[in-house]
Amino acid sequence: MSDAWAVRTTDLGKRYYLGEGEQYLALRDILAGVPRRLLGRGARAEPDSLWALRDVDLEIPKGEVVGILGRNGAGKSTFLKVLSRITHPTTGSVEIDGRVGSLLEVGTGFHPELTGRENVFLNGAILGMSGNEIRNRFDEIVEFSGVSEFLDTPVKRYSTGMYMRLAFAVAAHLEPEILLVDEVLAVGDAEFQRRCLGRMRELATAQGRTVVLVSHNLDAVSQLSRHSIWLDHGRVRDTGPTPEIVDAYLRSRQVGTAPGEWVDLEGRTRSTGDEVRITRARITVNGAPRVESNEPLAIEFDVEARKPVTLGGAMARLATIGGTRLLDAGTTEGPSIELPAGASRLRIELDRLPVAPGSYAVDLVITRVMGSGRKRGVFDLVEGALDVEAHATDASPAIDALVPVEAKVATVEHLGD
């Protein structure tokens, strides 16, 4: 059967050149290079480059939901960007059989000055829907979003929740033959994530639909996809049934960042961090050589601000390796933190680490001061910034897997003899 696959890649490679410092070139850099080139001196030094994808040969079968796993920087997002034609491959080729819709972000193209209604049309068109498709599904989209009363209000007056709901409603009604999804589940509250998952499942079970799903949330990938692809340093490390791949992937992860050791976060991919950027982080523990459950713990991280800013809060978000969030340590609502331009170090201290022994991931978040009229409250967010391996303390009580949380215990009612 020749049409068994929806996506096929052959020798696919993508190389990025790593610029230093400046994000973009100015003409002077080119001009400055001219005399050197004319004199033939120093030839042209090959700039630093990085293969974000290398020798990727894959077939994604029609009608399957396929998960893509891998650490930060493994090439997952680049893979989706190449598939969705946002960026070009450097080598090899991709063949795609079917209409592609990509969802690398919800609300792409939303304009704050336009009303909810106008944004539905604009966003739908940008995501590849025709005017007729949008008109036909308009009522459904509005219904799904639950913001019908505010349709004629500019979205700049929406709360973050309303904004996300409307944006996702449009995305959820995109019905391409091949859907590429990146980390959409990482945003929003629990209810929002639940709806995203539900909608993904609907799409997945719908006839003939192919879904390629990238997520840090292994639990979500496990639930949705039967097969997964594991990318490692731009190469395909393994493919197969999801449970096996997830298992192998989890086993491969280094266990815990050693206390005191700085982890460089500068190069981590993220869509935030323009004004203030988290550059590195570490875990510190008083005295102990390892992180221990129920014992004090501090997380230190350095931030680099382009100009003086005021932080509304800083948080370390603890999640299971599977991606299920457990707790947020830090502040969200003041007191605000004044940062001068340049580098500063922040420290989040926990009296105790209230989780059972095991492996956890820490996301770091710094937020804006709320109510400043900004749509998104996040200055910078680094997912999986640190890995924490919480050990049982030697002094643990006999049942060492238990984390004591104060709770009242009482007999409420006698239910009979």
Binding site: Y16, Y24, L25, A26, L27, I30, K81, V82, L83, S84, R85, I86, T87, H88, P89, T90, T91, G92, S93, V94, E95, I96, D97, V100, S102, L104, E105, T108, G109, H111, E113, L114, E118, F121, L122, A125, I126, L127, G128, S130, G131, P154
Partner: protein, 270 residues
């Protein structure tokens, strides 16, 4: 079936893809119109005020003080006719030059033919152009000037204008993504271009031998032609017409070619 491969260094234009996305072009144009007017206090009135105010300044400075001739047409009308074209050109080129940077989030997250972005930016300014053109009709009526049979040529001269404007905007938009110098060059460059175009003066002031040379700037043909079609001033000479038509075609072709070449790295550059 779509096949994605590494781009060639001078990719051609995928016309069928562009045509397939005409609805999106419409939406992007409509958005640019909406957003521009929603963010201003006077809104669409700017489309008329800008050329009107420039007309007043030109009339006082150039006509009254310097005594510039205007091919027998009342100077304010003469200048306004040129300013309608110029205001469109300079606004549209500026908008298009910044359009890709303004849309960098979209470029980084969704694929569609990138050419739609600067074209939509130029298209949105057509609304201003239409409003300013209506006022031109009013001013013509006030001075009792009615177009003759030459008006049938108007679409051709408009085509020259649009090709020049779109070509320049597309080119600068693409270059701006990689070399942000464009932002600094643009205001100065447009000022020079205004002086090089027969907006406030008539090309008849330029020595005849030099006319084909200045006509390398296709706006010479566009503006003189529009005045000819609407106000009945002398028709542009054959030399000016040929040079201008070739010039306008070159602007468009070079603009699109350079755009397609730069386009392959937009998502990595923004």
């Amino acid at each position: 079936m779509v096949r994605i491969t590494p781009p060639s260094s001078w990719p051609g234009v995928n016309w069928s893809e562009l045509i397939g996305n005409r609805e999106l072009l419409w939406f992007l144009t409509w958005r640019d119109v909406q957003v521009r007017y929603k963010q201003t206090a006077l809104g669409a009135a700017w489309a008329i005020l800008q050329p009107l105010m420039a007309m007043a300044v030109f009339t006082v400075v150039l006509r009254r003080l310097a005594g510039v001739e205007s091919d027998g047409i009342p100077y304010p009308l003469f200048a306004y006719a040129g300013l309608v074209a110029w205001t469109f050109h300079s606004t549209a080129v500026t908008q298009a030059a910044n359009s890709l940077i303004m849309n960098e989030r979209i470029i980084a997250k969704v694929y569609f033919p990138r050419l739609l972005i600067p074209v939509a930016a130029v298209g949105a300014v057509l609304v201003d152009f239409a409003l300013a053109a209506i006022v031109l009709g009013v001013i013509m009526a006030i001075y009792g000037v009615a177009p003759g049979a030459e008006i049938v040529l108007l679409p051709l001269y408009l085509l020259v204008l649009f090709a020049t404007t779109a070509g320049t905007g597309i080119l600068l938009g693409a270059v701006n993504v990689r070399y942000r110098d464009v932002r600094y060059l643009l205001p100065f460059g447009m000022q020079m271009w205004l002086f090089a175009s027969p907006i406030a003066y008539s090309t008849s002031l330029v020595p005849e031998a030099w006319q084909p040379v200045v006509a390398i700037n296709p706006l010479v043909l566009a503006v003189e032609g529009m005045r000819h079609a609407l106000l009945g001033t002398p028709a542009p000479s054959t030399a000016v017409t040929i040079t201008g038509a070739i010039g306008a075609t070159l602007f468009l072709v070079v603009g699109v070619k350079v755009f397609r070449r730069f386009e392959t790295t937009f998502a990595d550059d923004v």
